[in-house]
Subunit: 473 residues, 2 copies
């Protein structure tokens, strides 16, 4: 023996402060300690390790424990064992560079003092207790097969609950067989267009979420902007563009300008779809939240064979659930399932079961009613502030939803959004939602989401907003 | 007044059996009843509806209730209201065809009496009580922002728990900043290749999941099959194909043939990756389940800068969770997040929080230990059956995982799989997993998953399997 393994043993046991700590067996702890020592360069490549019995004696463990730990690290490639030359640190087990310094996520936005961006419900109002009660009932009641690979349609419990709820609350006409669960509206668009169930071009409203347009663009779907007026989308353009077989609308509450689609327009779009094999995608993103008028039911109920209804729990409960649903015309059920694949690959089955119970027990209705009252109060305070402090500015789109549009004097939107940013207010102007090829006249406005701030921060946000509103022109 | 609205009123109230039932207000119930009557053709297009006060009197509701219900249906397009001609059923409100007859999902497989397909854990063993306890703690402890739009990396609680667990149990070297949560292995492949983070071609093992290959093919990624021998994937081919910068391996437990990658091969693949800017995708799909030998740690620990580690809860807990994780080399973190988007669009935040608590409390370890014992017993019974009843057949790949491979006499696989199907046994032969361009010699074998059947059904499944095994050649 030309090398002194005793030195190695001492280094391992003493200098290296080899600690057999942590959970698991002694063997696992030793393997971990050795792995760390190699990884961090404390045991250099080529170093010969002490024989089993020596290290075992040093550490007060069984000889087999050391033998097993060595074997484990040999199997993993950290050590090499050759007859006659003992166990050595493998040559390629190079020490790793220093740990990575945490970086900000590329998507992270600098935190604003006041968040008045549209699109998010009040995160502090998630009904934790009722949700947990439903989770308990749902998990205890679920058949074993629920924990296997999921049906790509979604859990039958949830589809039944949704069919009842959507018929009752939104006037949607469906049965559970035509509902397919997904992760949200964006996932639905990806399935429909990325999965080639539908093909473009697609007529859209001249104002809408840029995220949806870019999602469609990445699936090579051309979008054609329809003008908006006081009655919602102007549908004359549909007939002009012959190739257009689809139109994406927000009939209950135009996003973001805020009005419902006029009854005559509802009739017209259904007529268009029926006469030319067209399809209406109905984005019912916040249909539950209507404050002053009677609710406006879903367009889908008028023509279930021509309207593909899309909803989600993102506004009504929380985007953290990642649950949405498609109500499909019958002829699209099989193509959508073919695009989704043989097994559920996205939506959590446990959350699906919980949501089914949550709806069936009336907790969903109760939560929506509670939030409707809360959001209505916030809306009222926003409108009162504007009416009192800036009467030259007109709040519009205030009958429903989680946001309103403050119409601004012409030419003032850009500077107002910039001023808001300086004051730490996160919000967008109407321009952020305008289709790049829209031809209708642009108007100036702020899209003010009033749902996001927690209650205690809302007054301060309104006061900050007041300060940036432009003076009378 | 030329038309008798009284008749209509009578039809509505009497003949039509208009029932104001169900939950919600009287107005909502009336709107629903009217909508149904129109939809089902009981109120024909053009029919004039009774004035408010008449219907109100008939039904015993307030006049405003009827007015509001009419207004709601006008807004939705079911009815039209014109000055002087009263309220009528809209012309386009055509009755809908009969309800759809439920069809089978296209992906549904005829139920087999005995399910011995690989890839599914025992669904009846989901740890409901421990999971619920974690859900309760996690939901109560979660900050409000957890219910807002999610960080696309995944919840920090889960990434911290995974970093600890993977280091301890799988020898993965990482920190939470390099972990990105996803919906499972398939979602990870979609993000990496569909999202153009990585580009093909990709070397793969000659036997593997066809689903993964077709997923890669749909992202236009060419796969190049590497031969397998007793030491795992033969890596010589990597050097020959110059363009290949990536290789997908199952180092802990080759899928489906069952052996670990030999230490020398582990070393070789790391050397290859380091010398030519290559990347190893490590699919650690069932690394927790090893029965007889010491565990084989992840390859990733050897070269965290060259190995992209992929794991999920699908085998260890349940595919119903739809939770997986990527441990990324540092230079791939930002590209993966860019592909994933600014917000979490897939994975349930509630399940993420619950899994974090489940791991932190030791419940995950306890569950894995319990399942390891259960699966080992099943493995032992399978091996005992084959050894006693069909000693000419060799069970292989039995040291780990949720399945074994029964090597069959040459030329008998196809007929054996067919015989199994006749006897109501769902399982696959090795041929189902073979890469279509594989050049290594094909061998005959059955891939027997022993995790799926519930305990009470397992003996019967083994007995059925015994009956289809081919006799000595």
């Amino acid at each position: 023996m030309t090398e002194s393994w005793v030195n190695s043993a001492e280094r391992v046991g003493a200098d290296l402060h080899l600690e057999l700590s942590g959970s698991g067996s002694r063997r696992a702890a030793l393997a971990r300690a050795l792995r760390d020592a190699v990884r961090e360069g404390r045991l250099a490549p080529g170093t010969r390790l002490p024989p089993y019995r020596s290290l075992a004696a040093d550490l007060g463990v069984a000889r087999n424990t050391v033998a097993d730990a060595y074997a484990e690290l040999v199997a993993e490639g950290w050590l090499t064992a050759r007859q006659g030359s003992g166990t050595r640190v493998a040559e390629r087990a190079r020490p790793r560079a220093a740990a990575r310094v945490p970086k900000k996520s590329p998507g992270a936005v600098a935190a604003s003092a006041h968040n008045l961006r549209q699109g998010r419900p009040d995160a502090s109002s998630f009904p934790r207790a009722a949700w947990l009660a439903s989770a308990r009932r749902a998990l205890n009641a679920a058949p074993s097969e629920a924990f296997g690979p999921g049906d790509p349609r979604g859990r039958p419990e949830l589809r039944r609950a949704l069919a009842d709820y959507l018929a009752r609350a939104r006037g949607v006409h469906t049965d559970p067989e035509q509902i397919v669960v997904c992760s949200g509206f964006a996932h639905a668009l990806r399935l429909l267009y990325g999965g080639k169930v539908l093909r473009g071009p697609l007529a859209v409203e001249s104002y809408g979420l840029p995220f949806h347009r870019s999602l469609l663009a990445s699936a090579s779907v051309r979008t054609l902007p329809l003008p908006l007026d006081g009655h919602g989308a102007v549908l004359d353009g549909l007939g002009q563009v012959r190739a257009t077989r689809g139109v994406l609308l927000t009939p209950a509450h135009q996003f973001p300008t805020g009005g419902p689609l006029h009854p005559a327009r509802r009739a017209a779009v259904v007529d268009w779809a029926r006469s030319g094999d067209g399809l209406v995608l109905e984005d019912d993103y916040d249909g539950e939240f209507r404050y002053d008028r009677q609710p406006v039911g879903a367009l889908q109920g008028l023509a279930p064979d021509r309207v593909l209804y899309l909803g989600s729990a993102s506004k009504s409960l929380s985007p953290a659930l990642r649950l949405g649903w498609m109500v499909l015309p019958e002829h699209l059920v099989d193509p959508v399932l073919a695009a989704k694949g043989e097994r559920e690959a996205w939506a959590s089955v446990l959350d699906q079961l919980t949501l089914a119970d949550f709806i069936d027990r009336g907790s969903y209705d109760r939560h929506v009613r509670r939030m409707r009252q809360r959001y209505r109060r916030r809306r009222d305070r926003l409108v009162a502030m504007v009416t009192e402090r800036a009467p030259h500015i007109v709040p519009t789109g205030i009958a429903a939803g989680l946001h309103a549009v403050l119409r601004l004097p012409a030419g003032t939107e850009r500077s107002t959004v910039k001023a808001a940013s300086w004051l730490g207010i996160a919000l967008d102007g109407l321009a952020a939602f305008r289709h790049p090829r829209a031809t209708m006249p642009a108007t100036d406005g702020l899209v003010v989401g009033y749902a996001t701030p927690p209650d205690h921060a809302y007054e301060a946000a309104l006061e900050a907003l007041r300060q940036v509103l432009p003076p009378p022109g």
